[in-house]
């Protein structure tokens, strides 16, 4: 079967931090996770925008928690897409969230129509995988080709991020091996990545040093090319995102910055304000 934008749809969860997806692509949908302040539950990006969330984080005495979508949430979305023949459902690393499990459980209701993908990554990386699939849908593609793309994406896509404090990752149980760095009294910037789970890379002092680490990781892994795609995500830190964008233009002038986004409430709950993530993938054919 030839897959196109007419017969194939892409479903993300809200941790892809790509809320405008359904406006940009008629065949895309986003299923929200939940943010809970005490007993009050909000759908990520639907009932609670990132701006409202960071505002609330400042003033609420209670710190939020999060919850994955129910299988029912996915099933409802999949059923609304009954006009399509194929659904690609792309999700947050299964090691970080049960979202993938919920999607998979719902997909089982619909036979083999839905293909659920564990991105083994987070945030803009998931959206960028979707965009790479969409580029193939636009010219016609096959399941086999998409399988190969997904495998290469997991292997080659780059992700590096830094947080202002590891406390948020620790509190939510997502700190992984970076736990050895928690509780540092000196102000240090941990440089982290995600390979299924959070992996510590290095710690440095100061935002400038952190930026230099981003630059050297990026330039040592990439070549300048129009196929090089870049994503930037930040939690309440637009000036750092802007700085990264300028850096990309200087270092890799032909690359396309295809996503600059704010981290939504769910990812923000676990990473905390001041987090900056940087993503790249060379989508050569």
């Amino acid at each position: 079967m030839t897959l196109t934008g007419e017969n194939t749809t892409i479903v993300l969860d809200s941790t892809a931090d790509f809320p405008e997806a359904p406006e940009r692509f008629p065949n895309w949908r986003v299923v929200p996770l939940y943010v809970l302040f005490g007993d009050e539950s909000y759908r990520d990006y639907v009932d609670l925008s990132p701006e409202e969330f960071y505002g609330r984080l400042r003033t609420s005495a209670e710190l939020p928690t999060t919850s994955q979508p129910t299988p029912g949430d996915f099933l409802t979305t999949y059923e609304e897409l009954s006009g399509y023949e194929r659904i690609y459902s792309l999700h947050l690393s299964a090691a970080l969230s049960g979202t993938y499990q919920s999607a998979r459980t719902a997909a089982m209701e619909l036979g083999d129509k839905v293909r659920v993908v564990d991105s083994e990554s987070a945030s803009a990386a998931i959206a960028m995988l979707g965009l790479a699939i969409q580029r193939r849908l636009d010219r016609g593609t096959t399941d086999d080709e998409i399988d190969k793309l997904v495998a290469r994406f997991k292997e080659d896509a780059g992700l590096i991020f830094t947080v202002d404090t590891l406390e948020f990752l620790r509190r939510g149980g997502r700190i992984g091996r970076a736990s050895a760095w928690a509780g540092t009294l000196l102000h240090v910037k941990p440089i982290l990545t995600i390979e299924r789970e959070v992996i510590p890379l290095k710690r440095v002092r100061g935002n400038q040093k952190a930026m230099q680490e981003f630059v050297s990781a990026f330039t040592s892994a990439t070549e300048d090319s129009p196929t090089l795609k870049v994503g930037i995500a930040h939690a309440d830190a637009p000036e750092r995102a802007e700085q990264l964008k300028r850096m990309v233009h200087a270092e890799r002038p032909h690359a396309e910055v295809e996503i600059v986004t704010t981290l939504g409430a769910v990812v923000g709950t676990h990473a905390g304000p001041g987090t900056v993530g940087f993503f790249w993938f060379d989508d050569r054919e």
């Binding site: 299988p71 029912g72 949430d73 049960g98 499990q101 406390e167 509190r171 509780g183 009294l185 000196l186």
Partner: protein
């Protein structure tokens, strides 16, 4: 009694049993993500089924099965809830056709439930809900020939479930390390216990009573040696979050200060909640104060949870550092220093003390940080005398040692660490302010006994009676080339730095200032720029 009423009764019994144990099950939750919500998720999932049954007027079996299955799927919260929804589906499907529900039907329902649960998970892991439902299914099949009633069979399944739950730590390492049984399995057992009691017309067994009230449970997934979890909001004008953070850091750990200049939210684990609140009232108006005593059990749970976090790579390298001052000791320890030897200016440790410290380490390789030029030699001697692989990074000051520690990674070899540390240390400039112990003439600078003396990179650069002027001159010298971060370690006498910090910040608006209470003797202020 109609099928609908009967199934309503059973579902209420299962939910009540689960709810009575919800908190306990939350506390057990370390797998797959230690976020303490398994009991809550299972309860919410079961409640969505009960709510649907309370609403429905459907009387036929097939219709009820369909509604229950859908309600479980739509209401499933969390990973454990999703698996529970599949267990419910599998069980419900065997009850679709009309006829007497006997022991045979119950056994078939558990088999079908187990199969459905395994199908739902991509990579089934033993020591979880899955192994508990599977063992119950096996028990049901084994008991077929014993001629039990369905009530008797359910009681046998509960017994087998108890054994299966107790075995989960043998099957899953993360549970064994944390000293807990699997939360999802424990929840499933309570559901079946509730079903068995309701089916037999007996009251629900008492839930274990040794539960703690955890008022701000969300905070307590981290390890803290402190007693009080303290949270409050500070409201005011132009609140300085960094300054407040710095003051609170001295009081405890698990610190979070988030917000904007008008409102900051503070969370800190401390033994002195009063002092923490005082930091708030000095800066503005405090509101929404919550102080929770983290009981011993909570602290133990936190310890379990932290230990259950996937282990860092086995540490192959440790650090021995020569440090003076309690604050500095804590700074070095928080960055991963394994062993501190007391010492520094005018109290240099002996080579033997350093060798003892090295030999006492469990790591096979050691990085040694002398942190004082007078200690470098004995450090090198100690390195030569030890049987371990010891590398000396010749740090000549405490700030240089701290900068080196930032680059430390216990998973790498001592040689790799030393290379990374040396690179950082080469890029750092250090200075100090001390009191002249006699009249001195240094580099054309004459300083009277008792006056302040400022040194930058080992060279006297300023002297005089005004502490701020001398310290500012040292800072300027360190900042001759652009730098990102300046660290200031205050000495045992804790000098007042407010004016000095303002002067530095005005001259270097982009510079990040990190002020820490070092507590070292002789030097009211140690500085570094990197």
């Amino acid at each position: 009694m109609t099928d609908r009423v009967r199934v309503q009764e059973l579902a209420h019994g299962a939910l009540a049993s689960l709810e009575a144990n919800r908190q306990r099950i939350d506390d057990l939750n370390v797998y797959p993500v230690p976020d303490g919500d398994t009991g809550t998720n299972l309860t919410m999932t079961a409640r969505s089924v009960v709510d649907e049954l309370d609403r429905t007027t459907t009387e036929d079996r097939a219709g009820l099965v369909k509604e229950v299955t859908r309600a479980a799927l739509m209401g499933a919260r969390g990973n454990s809830g999703v698996i529970l929804s599949q267990i419910i589906r599998g069980a419900a499907e065997t009850l679709r056709t009309n006829g007497e529900v006997d022991a045979h039907t119950v056994a078939a329902a558990f088999r079908s439930a187990s199969d459905a649960a395994y199908r739902a998970v991509r990579q089934p892991v033993e020591g979880t809900m899955l192994s508990v439902i599977r063992e119950m299914a096996e028990e049901g099949e084994n008991a077929e020939s014993d001629g039990l009633t369905k009530e008797e069979l359910l009681i046998r399944l509960v017994r087998r479930g108890e054994e299966a739950v107790a075995r989960t730590p043998e099957q899953l390492e993360v549970l064994r390390e944390a000293g807990v049984v699997d939360a999802g399995g424990a929840g499933l057992l309570e559901i079946v216990r509730g079903l068995a009691a309701t089916a037999a017309g007996e009251p629900l067994p008492q839930a274990p009573t040794q539960r703690e009230e955890i008022t701000i449970e969300a905070f307590h997934q981290d390890l803290s040696p402190y007693r009080y979890c303290t949270t409050f909001v500070i409201e005011g004008d132009e609140l300085d979050s960094e300054k407040i953070e710095h003051e609170l850091e001295q009081l405890g750990d698990s610190l979070l200060v988030v917000g904007d200049p008008e409102a900051l939210k503070v969370h800190v684990h401390t033994d002195e909640p009063g002092r923490a609140l005082a930091v708030g009232t000095r800066a503005g108006v405090i509101d929404r104060v919550e102080i929770a005593n983290m009981h011993e059990q909570t602290v133990q749970r936190e310890r379990r949870l932290l230990e259950a976090v996937p282990a860092a790579q086995p540490s192959s390298t440790g650090v021995v550092a020569v440090v003076a001052g309690n604050g500095n000791r804590r700074l070095f320890e928080s960055l991963g220093t394994t062993k501190i030897v007391e010492g520094g200016q005018t109290m240099n440790p002996s080579t033997a003390e350093l060798v003892d410290a090295i030999e006492a380490m469990s790591a096979a390789e050691v990085v040694l940080l002398p942190n004082n030029s007078n200690v470098v030699l004995s450090a090198e001697q100690a390195a030569g005398l030890s049987d371990k692989l010891v590398t000396v990074v010749p740090t000549d000051s405490l700030p240089a040692g701290l900068a080196a520690m930032v680059a430390f990674d216990s998973a790498r070899s001592a040689a790799d660490n030393a290379a990374a540390m040396n690179e950082v240390v080469e890029g750092i400039r250090t200075g100090e302010v001390t009191m002249a112990s006699r009249d001195v003439e240094l580099n054309g600078l004459s300083v009277r006994k008792g006056a302040w003396l400022g040194l930058a990179n080992g060279t006297a650069v300023a002297g005089g009676s005004d502490f701020d002027d001398v310290a500012a001159a040292v800072a300027e010298r360190l900042l001759e080339e652009p730098r990102d971060v300046m660290t200031l370690l205050t000495g045992a006498d804790e000098p007042e730095l407010e004016d000095l910090l303002r002067r530095i910040q005005e001259a270097h608006p982009l510079l990040e200032l990190d002020v820490q209470a070092g507590g070292q003797p002789h030097y009211p202020l140690l500085l570094s720029a990197e």
